[in-house]
Amino acid sequence: MKLSNLLKLPAVLALLASVPTAAEHTSNWAVLVSTSRFWFNYRHLANVLSLYRTVKRLGIPDSQIILMLPDDMACNPRNAFPGTVYSNADRAVDLYGDNIEVDYRGYEVTVENFIRLLTDRVGEEMPRSKRLLTDDRSNILVYMTGHGGNEFLKFQDAEEISAFDLADAFEQMWEKKRYHELLFMIDTCQANTMYSKFYSPNIIATGSSEIDQSSYSHHADNDVGVAVIDRYTYYNLDFLEKEVREPSSKKTLGDLFDSYDEAKIHSHPGIRWDLFAGGEQGGRERLLMDFFGNVQNVEVDSVGNDTELKEDLLLLGKKIAELRARSEAEEAAERNQTSPRPLLENHTTRRVTAAKVEVDENWWGKKAVGAWALAGCSLVWLAASYMES
């Protein structure tokens, strides 16, 4: 943070003092997962990409969006529109666009990687762009789509995540203080069963269809050749596009959920409030921008006065100068010490490389020796058997 920004802090603090800071979040993250491979599941990737465009439009930066695409639709040889994915037959918006960052793609989209992402149990070499670096002040939107059933969701038609796995992953996130509030949306067949096992606090969950209900696609594009979007996602997007036009929107989750029309969606969307701190009432009043947009609220533990802050800054500056001087001195000393850099003595580098295939020049000679040895043995044997008889 720049010094000028720091000096502006008191003004910001005065503003914040009037707002109850305890319930604030300071960052927004989105985890957008499609779980279907193959061209005929185009609509699932289009679902996810439309959500990606929406949260990006409302301000969440690419670094805070984890996008999982199990197949390549944009550059698929079957796609008549190379480099594009459309979620509507009018083809007004190219969802792939010119600027897209896919974090997990192809075979990387697995149940294991998804749970590792949520719980942050990853190897040390995992790049930051593929990690969910949230804390207890982060609001997360988790959107999933694919083919599912009663309490499971298929990943790439090869493996499944169960509702219990997902509930346990969220519980682990809560225990590790990895979220503040979480909005879980899922568009799949029998979607509402997927969130039925959740037991961690501060989760609002919504799904497209009840148990024994399918989730249907909305419409197909004849030139793309397949269905381009699912109904539930389509009407969610419809609301977000028409009602939530800019980041200052005051529309609430209640407004979004009230807009669901079962006659249009062709299934019964479900909403789960009981895990949320304020229950249904509190949840309904949450702004959509708390999950789909990006906020930069600042939380300060203790409100100090102006002089104290300046003193602290001064102290910090001195400390930095001191540390810098020390490290410079150390570096200089090191440089002096190792200026004639000793070459690696007593060190044998073992290189494992391919071995050279040698063609034996003396091939016939060796064969002859072998033949003679065999002949000699048989001669001895013959002689011995002759002597015995």
């Binding site: 190379p82 010119d98 896919v102 075979y107 790049p127 090869a158």
Partner: protein, 580 residues
């Protein structure tokens, strides 16, 4: 191509001598190919001094990449994203002598500084993972089974001091299955100083690039030193080459599907005797050069020049005969070179640049450079158990022989039989193999690596064949789309400074019926239920002979019912008697 290359060499030479003038350079070379195709080669190059790189003082060198290289102790890096097949027979030699292209998918090789092999492997892991995050590609799948350490095929192209050279480890990995799409182009453009906003990079659009018949994106980081001086610098070169179909590129983006042309727009050969309002013989336009413009091919005109490229090199060049008509937008200046086939344009910095080539009947064509070698590779054999690979290598030159290295890196489940490796020259088995390096595969640990140095005399064809066995994978090792087959990386042919890559292959492995476990579970459950039922019956039931069993008799039943009834009535009678 020759002229182009010599020109570029001169430019590079000028660069390395007077690098103080500018540290960034970009150029686009357009080159029409037959039939109705256009090769566009974008080249972006910038330098940074070694000191400023060490001090993390980045100017044109991208910081994100620089820090990864420092973290992974990588001294030289080559990364390739490629799609499609180069048709050498009709397009001639490859751009940049094939040095700036990789096999289908993603290819990465680097020289990592480390003292031991284990350290090098660790840094390679760091490097691949970091690059996977940066380039949105699954480079983290380059694990030990996909990593090879070639002996002859790759040599460092940069300058390394002798002390570092002894600690450098070459590691090479390929991902033939990886798709290349807009998410790879986005970070690629972000590494450029002008970020695709101005200059030739503004022409790069994923919608056109990924519609190309062949395309290759490359990124090279090499250290360069002036001979005899201590001054060293790090050079980053990014290139994008694509072969665009002119007619296909001219289709509108919102309606790219070719539809029947209305009859009034048909171009008919009116000289035909049967030509009438309902009979049309298409007009032969092959003798005419296709008409096109930059905006038609790339979607929009070029947005000015990149202000950071101040070296005075013309940013746009086109390789057509001087007789070809070219119109360009105001403010630009044309420079024709002496060879007769190359002209470059000096652009006005602020205004958009557009170039139009009209339809023209022209007999003169820019000459094609003949490739040094034609290579094709395919599978032979049949069945689920074994197979073979055949590589046909033709030396088209009537006079000079070719000495080259052929490298294969095969996955572990394709088990090569080295004793079956044969090379036949013009049908006769002659000794053309001069040297061979081989590292056999270990199941699930590493792949096969084979390098063969061969010699093909002038005007001859060598057919190299070998056989292999297909391994059976474990149930969980199959990818979700196992029935599609497994991609085998392309073979790399190195002829001195030139390299050629064959196409990748698709190997069908024996795949199980993936619903089989469920069938097994169902069948086993049925068998178990049957067995349990019969054993339970045997243990619990008492078995008697049919004649011993009590027969069900209606009269017996009636008698029993009568007995019970009479007993009940008697008891009732007793009770009433007592009450009385």
């Amino acid at each position: 191509m020759c002229q182009l290359r010599s020109l570029l060499l001169v430019l590079v030479a000028i660069f390395s001598l007077v690098h103080a003038i500018s540290d960034y350079h970009e150029q686009l070379v357009l080159r029409p190919l037959q039939p109705s195709l256009l090769l566009a080669s974008f080249n972006f190059q910038s330098n940074t001094s070694w000191e400023s790189f060490e001090q993390q003082n980045f100017r044109y060198f991208p910081r994100s990449l620089g820090q990864i290289l420092q973290h992974a102790n990588t001294r030289e890096l080559h990364l390739r994203f490629s799609l499609g097949q180069w048709d050498a027979e009709s397009w001639g030699a490859r751009p940049w002598g094939g040095r700036r292209e990789g096999g289908t998918g993603v290819e990465l090789w680097a020289w990592v500084e480390a003292e031991t092999d284990e350290d090098a492997d660790g840094r390679w892991l760091t490097l691949t993972n970091a690059l996977s995050g940066l380039f949105c590609a699954s480079l983290n799948f380059i694990d030990s089974t996909r990593t090879t350490k070639p002996v002859m095929s790759f040599q460092p192209s940069g300058y390394h001091t002798n002390s570092t050279l002894s600690n450098l480890h070459l590691l090479h990995g390929t991902l033939p299955r990886e798709v290349v799409c807009t998410e790879n182009l986005t970070p690629f453009l972000k590494l450029l100083p002008c970020k695709g906003k101005a200059g030739i990079s503004s022409l790069l659009d994923g919608h056109k690039l990924f519609d190309a018949s062949w395309q290759s994106m490359s990124l090279d980081v090499t250290p360069l030193c002036l001979p005899g001086s201590e001054e060293c610098k790090l050079q980053i070169t990014q290139t994008i080459d694509m072969v665009l179909d002119i007619q296909r590129s001219k289709r509108p983006r919102d309606n790219p599907i070719p539809r029947p042309v209305p009859s009034e727009e048909l171009k008919c050969d009116t000289s035909k005797p049967y030509h009438s309002s309902d009979v049309c013989f298409p007009l032969d336009t092959t003798s005419q050069e296709e008409d096109w413009s930059l905006a038609q091919i790339f979607g929009h005109a070029m947005k000015g020049t990149c202000p950071l490229a101040t070296d005075g090199i013309d940013p746009v060049c086109i390789h057509v005969p001087h007789a070809r008509q070219v119109y360009w937008s105001e403010g630009a200046q044309e420079h024709k070179d002496k060879s007769g086939y190359m002209r470059c344009f000096e652009l006005a910095p602020e205004s958009d640049f557009e170039m139009i080539l009209p339809r023209q009947e022209i007999s003169e064509k820019a000459p094609l450079e003949q490739p040094l070698l034609y290579a094709q590779r395919s599978f032979i054999g049949y069945g689920q158990e074994r197979g073979g690979v055949q590589a046909i290598l033709t030396n088209p030159s009537p006079t000079s022989a070719v000495d080259f290295v052929y490298m294969e890196s095969l996955p572990w489940f394709m088990k090569l039989y080295l004793h079956t490796l044969t090379a036949k020259i013009n049908g006769n088995s002659e000794d053309v193999i001069q040297e061979m390096y081989y590292r056999p595969a270990l199941d699930r640990k590493r792949g096969t690596q084979l390098e063969v140095r061969m010699f093909i005399p002038a005007n001859s064809t060598v057919i190299l064949t070998y056989e292999f066995e297909k391994a059976i994978l474990r149930y969980t090792e199959y990818p979700p789309d196992a029935n599609r087959g497994f991609d085998i990386a392309s073979a790399v042919i190195t002829i001195g400074n030139v390299s050629i890559r064959t196409t990748s292959l698709l190997l069908p492995l024996p795949t199980p019926d993936f619903s089989m476990p469920y069938n097994v579970i169902i069948l086993t459950s049925t068998v178990m239920a049957l067995a349990f039922g019969s054993i339970f019956n045997l243990l619990v039931r008492r078995f008697v002979g049919a004649d011993e069993a009590e027969k069900l008799d209606i009269r017996m039943l009636r008698r029993k019912v009568q007995a019970v009834a009479s007993r009940l009535s008697r008891r009732f009678m007793k009770k009433t008697a007592k009450q009385e």
